[in-house]
Symmetry: C2
Subunit: 733 residues, 2 copies
């Protein structure tokens, strides 16, 4: 993506705010404008012909800061120049005068009574269709609230034998994609805008830009070359609005490619504080659950309001809980905006719930695996009234994980073991569409808009089409996602591509198959029902017609192509968030750790991940996905946290922000899959790739607790935190 060049292309450098919160007092661009090669030095006031605000949930994020800056690193001025050198030189000469304002950089500060407000106006609704009710709390930094209750809610705690309550916090972490965000925009003479963008959901970006520039959807073209990682950080508009606006201003193609440091100032995971309360019967059955979660969405809401809904809704995980009360807040702070990140709100809650669950097992004197097992939702059971029935077998996953970690066998004295589970809904309502074209030589092209970002979507789509069409996968070509030509797909996220886009591809290929059978049936004089596809030909009991001959029969010449169409749109439902999940994502993690009592350092010796994926379309890719998920999970579990001091982000670089390295890999890492072909996707597949990240933190935390008796409630479990806790335990009462 970042190496795209267009003739006459200009380059952008952004001047960013050094303050967490400040009023813009004066902007002097004269010196910058004079640098040779500089084409424009643009502040918000210079942008015309477009809505200056964007955002999927709320239109609260300005293309360039308007009057006020709300986080350190917020773009204030864009310098557009012939090359990056000139742009950078000029950017250093832009003189902005600020009047500093009091800032809030933590949930505590933001939620304190009388806290400074990050936004003073009510947010405007964004384009995200299914965020039906916006519930800000005026006069506070809470920009959205979510409430959910079923059964008797909190009242049921009165009947509990055991009630446990605790508060857990989850850190701010960054996606750390190998390729930071990049975008190139160009308007043509017909008033059509093309943006080559590092985005996971080109169709959402298309809506955003169409609204921003007030043009029909068909006039906005988003092309997505291969991405160097996404992890949710490239969902919804990020750089596309500014390059679109600057390309329009300058009449030239405009490119903006961020550094890793700037990615930290673009989006991150929402840190969270979760108070979880669980009530059990004497027998250890879950009776009631309560959660109060605060998610820090940073300076602009991005998709945060949806995250708190979706994440909180499944707070109770894979367990049967008759009585539930859930509440969560999306809270503005003067920090980098929080957005989607692998797990979409679930890791924050699972960290709390799965930890409390282990504490409950200890208090009930139950085995933690046993306690989980007896509370699991059954295959086919409704998660919540109106939502999709559970489409996997939790017990099988749990047993596989327990067996692999040798749960029932004693661990060495210096080793601790812990387990954790997760459940996650995918996005719903949802739509994926695909077109499959069979060419005259029995090669095929798939048009679909699933974005390839290293997860292997292109390969999987090719496999699915090849399987249905009975041709070698090497003869299937997958087009680059491009809203001008590849059909609608809601998003490449939510672990949905194989299941939903894959199903659309499967249906489109089946449409081609039906056409092949129909034409061959006519030619061979054999009913279509007695024909099948095999090795590039329609075959019957004794008949055989190769695809090129079928097409020749259909078209009367050596040309033409069969076009198949696949549309997957489960639609709305009575489910609480407006659409049932099309499938459930589920995983179990089991960790075996050692702790260096001298340093507090945790080493994960062995980690077993078991994900119920229905069926692995591509087993190697599934394994690679889940290895990546576990490793990324180890990041926030042991190492990662974006650190702020007086509103300044301290470690936004590849040296000070420490992600897992090869040496941090568990000595043994096993990623296993439950495959009962019970998923909604092609050949019984369902989503994978996010789930296995979620259990990592609670599995490690539970192992630590079981090994040392120390229960930590704050991530990451850094050596210092562990060491302090161990010392406090030794010094204990």
């Amino acid at each position: 993506m970042t190496d795209l060049e267009l003739p006459g292309m200009l380059h952008v450098t952004l001047v960013r705010s050094p303050y967490a919160h400040a009023r813009l007092v004066r902007l002097d661009t004269q010196a910058a404008t004079g640098v040779p090669g500089v084409r424009a030095v643009v502040g918000s006031g210079d942008l015309t012909g477009c809505d200056p605000y964007f955002g999927p949930a709320f239109r609260d994020r300005p293309i360039l800061a308007i009057d006020v800056v709300r986080y350190e690193g917020e773009p204030v001025v864009a310098v557009v120049a012939d090359d990056e050198g000139a742009a950078a030189e000029a950017a250093a000469l832009v003189d902005v005068a600020y009047e500093e304002l009091p800032a809030v950089t933590t949930l505590e500060e933001a939620l304190a009574p009388g806290a400074p407000l990050v936004h003073t106006a009510e947010p405007l609704a964004g384009h995200f269709a299914d965020l039906s009710t916006l519930r800000a709390k005026p006069g506070t930094n809470i920009c959205h609230q979510f409430d959910f209750e079923r059964g008797r809610g909190a009242a049921a705690f009165a009947d509990a034998h055991l009630i446990l309550e605790d508060t857990y916090t989850f850190p701010r972490v960054q996606h750390y994609s190998m390729e930071p965000h990049a975008a190139v925009a160009a308007w043509n003479e017909a008033g059509e805008l093309t943006v080559w963008a590092s985005t996971q959901n080109p169709y959402s970006v298309r809506v955003e830009l169409a609204k921003m520039f007030d043009v029909p959807l068909g006039r906005i073209r988003i092309v997505v070359p291969l991405l160097g990682g996404g992890f949710g950080g490239k969902t919804y508009a990020k750089l596309e609005p500014i390059v679109g606006a600057l390309a329009r201003m300058t009449g030239r193609p405009v490119r903006l490619a961020l550094s890793a440091e700037e990615a930290f100032r673009t989006v991150r995971r929402c840190d969270a504080r979760v108070r979880a309360r669980l009530g059990f019967t004497r027998e250890g059955l879950l009776l009631a659950a309560e959660c109060d979660a605060d998610f820090d969405v940073g300076a602009y809401a991005d998709i945060g309001p949806r995250i708190i809904q979706k994440g909180t809704y499944t707070a109770t995980g894979p367990y049967r809980v008759p009585h539930v009360r859930l509440h969560s807040n999306a809270v503005y702070t003067n920090t980098t905006p929080g957005g989607a990140f692998r797990g979409f709100g679930v890791p924050q809650l699972a960290w709390a719930i799965e930890s409390v669950l282990d504490e409950a097992a200890r208090r009930l004197d139950h085995d933690p695996v046993e306690l989980r097992r007896q509370n699991l939702l059954a295959h086919g059971e409704e998660f919540a009234p109106g939502d999709a029935p559970i489409d996997g077998k939790f017990e099988e996953s749990l047993n596989r994980a327990a067996h692999a970690i040798r749960w029932t066998q004693g661990a060495a004295a210096d080793r601790g073991r812990g387990v954790a589970m997760m459940l996650k809904a995918s996005i719903g309502p949802t739509v994926s569409e695909a077109i499959v074209r069979l060419h005259a030589d029995a090669s095929a092209t798939v048009l679909a808009s699933a974005v390839e970002m290293g997860q292997g979507a292109r390969t999987v789509m090719a496999q699915i089409a090849a399987e249905v069409l009975a041709i070698p996968v090497g003869r299937v070509f997958v087009a680059t996602p491009d809203t001008a030509v590849t059909p609608y797909d809601q998003t490449t996220s939510s672990s949905r591509s194989t299941t939903m886009t894959g199903r659309a591809v499967q249906e489109a290929a089946a449409d081609v198959r039906d056409q092949l059978l129909h034409v061959a049936s006519g030619r061979l004089g054999v009913p279509a029902a007695r024909l099948r596809l095999e090795d590039g030909a329609v075959v019957g009991a004794s008949e055989r017609l190769a695809y090129p001959d079928v097409l020749e029969e259909r078209f009367g010449m050596g040309g033409g192509e069969l076009i198949g169409r696949g549309v997957v749109a489960p639609g709305r439902s009575a489910a609480p968030l407006g659409g049932s999940t099309p499938f459930w994502e589920m995983a179990v993690g089991a960790a075996e750790i050692v702790v260096d009592e001298e340093t507090g350092a945790i080493t994960v010796e062995k980690y077993v991940s078991v994900a119920d994926v229905g069926r692995c379309i591509n087993p190697l890719q599934c394994e690679a996905q889940d290895e990546g998920a576990v490793l990324q999970g180890l990041g926030h579990t042991l190492l990662e946290e974006m650190l702020y001091e007086r509103g300044q982000l301290l470690n936004a670089n590849l040296v000070d922000y420490r992600v897992p390295r090869a040496e941090d890999l568990p000595r043994v890492l096993e990623c296993r899959f439950v495959e009962n072909a019970d998923g909604a996707g092609p050949f019984g597949a369902k989503g994978a790739g996010e789930g296995s990240l979620v259990p990592v933190a609670p599995a490690v935390g539970n192992a630590l607790s079981r090994l040392t008796g120390v229960r930590l409630r704050e991530l990451p479990l850094t050596p210092e935190r562990v060491w302090r806790a161990l010392r406090a335990r030794r010094a204990g009462p």
Copy 2:
């Protein structure tokens, strides 16, 4: 097209043969290779991994000359360099030693007994599907022959009251597109080749390259930006093979953009010599027709063999002729290859037949309009057994033209009037496919592969989709033809795009319409048959549902798109050339001229063109097309001819090759249309754009004859030729 740039792109300059026919004796590239910036100096022997020959009818044309050069200007060596300057500098240093061979540069020379042979080996079949029988004449320069007979053939002349026979010649002319040929090729790491090409038929080029590089069709991607003119000169592979091969060799994107001078060395119209013989009854009815036509296809056949079939097959034009014998030869000469050019063989034959017809009228003492009228095929009458019935009203066109030129009113003494008619088949069997996508905001995208080359195809496709979908044309966007994504379309030529591609678009849009009606019917509880589309909404007697609401109903969310599919494939038939024409193209021309007796200069004072187009989808565009056709026809009628002397092309440049200028426009130029909505295309349209070129030469020639008594048989009707003929007449016996 020519301004496309890719990162790392290399530029090609071709070293061309200075000889019409020669053996390559030695090639010294050392000095050229040493020029800074030069990446490769490539002769045919350096090309690997590809078939070195290409061509749609025969694979007789080498990417770079092999052993022998066969025309002046043939590419011999390719210099690939960082920029065009270095490539040109190095090209001048390439040292090629030739051994000259005897050459044939005219039909007479090529067909003389014992003539030197342009090719000594039998040609290999090309990919063009429907050139079923290859009939070369070994030991001669005839590479293909066509024969057609119906009724009693030539035997019927025995019963004729009047037999007229004469031989007419048609010159070599060049397409003279404003933008010469250009192509950029790039292979990616997956072994996929993308070529941005100035081609009128990307799907033919795809087949050619897939065969050449032995890869599946899906791995070859041909993208066609807007072209600066085509006129047939950009059909079938031209530069694509060499840039594809060089890009593969160098591992870099490679660009080749020709100069106008080089376009003259790439393709031209086939010159022809046509002996026409017509037999009439006493009443002036056509009884028998015979044609023997030699077409000069130059050094390589290109699509010439198909041209002689197609052109000759309709030699008898719009007239009812019971007995017919036709024969034509495609003849190799040592000149620029002859290929498709607006009219595709018909202008050459019509020049002869329409001239002989006027001579017959004189001899029969019939009015030429009257003579034509009494011989016209009727609407619905079969042109030839098994072929499509006539789908227009010739008489109406003829009457319109005669009326507009005031045929029945006396012309001024110094003015002469002439008429001529034409009939042309389009390509068959044939396939066009399209996809129409209706977006959530009631804008739409059309995916089709009709190439925009100035003729207005994009506008027409948008109009057709807009009409069916009842949305403003400004909300319909037409994708760029790109074989990776836009569906199969046989070719943008043969006047077929509006009719065939347009019909595919119409069907695809109707498919979307049916989906809209179906969904709205369910939502409104009204049968679909009582609903219609109006102004972006489905409406009934009292109901109204805007498209965004229909889509929301269909998809359960504010996203998703309706995908419509249109496939038009009339298939094979019993018609003589394997597929009936899907429509007939027909036009009448009427000219009023003056002649300067001192200089011989003809001035066309008034020209009326009447084309039966069924229906003008875009009247302004139809008019512009036909004005261009008449003007281009005036080129070969009065001015244009590629002149060779001893094998050297003398006037291959924009100064010496004289095309019509604004001052050459008839003082009055009227382009009119017969619109009976009787065409096979959308809303009754049929093909336009080629037809009106055809009658120009015979109409002017007939006018000259009627004004001066001088009958010229050789085009162009230059002042010198006219003056000599006038002088000969005055000096006559």
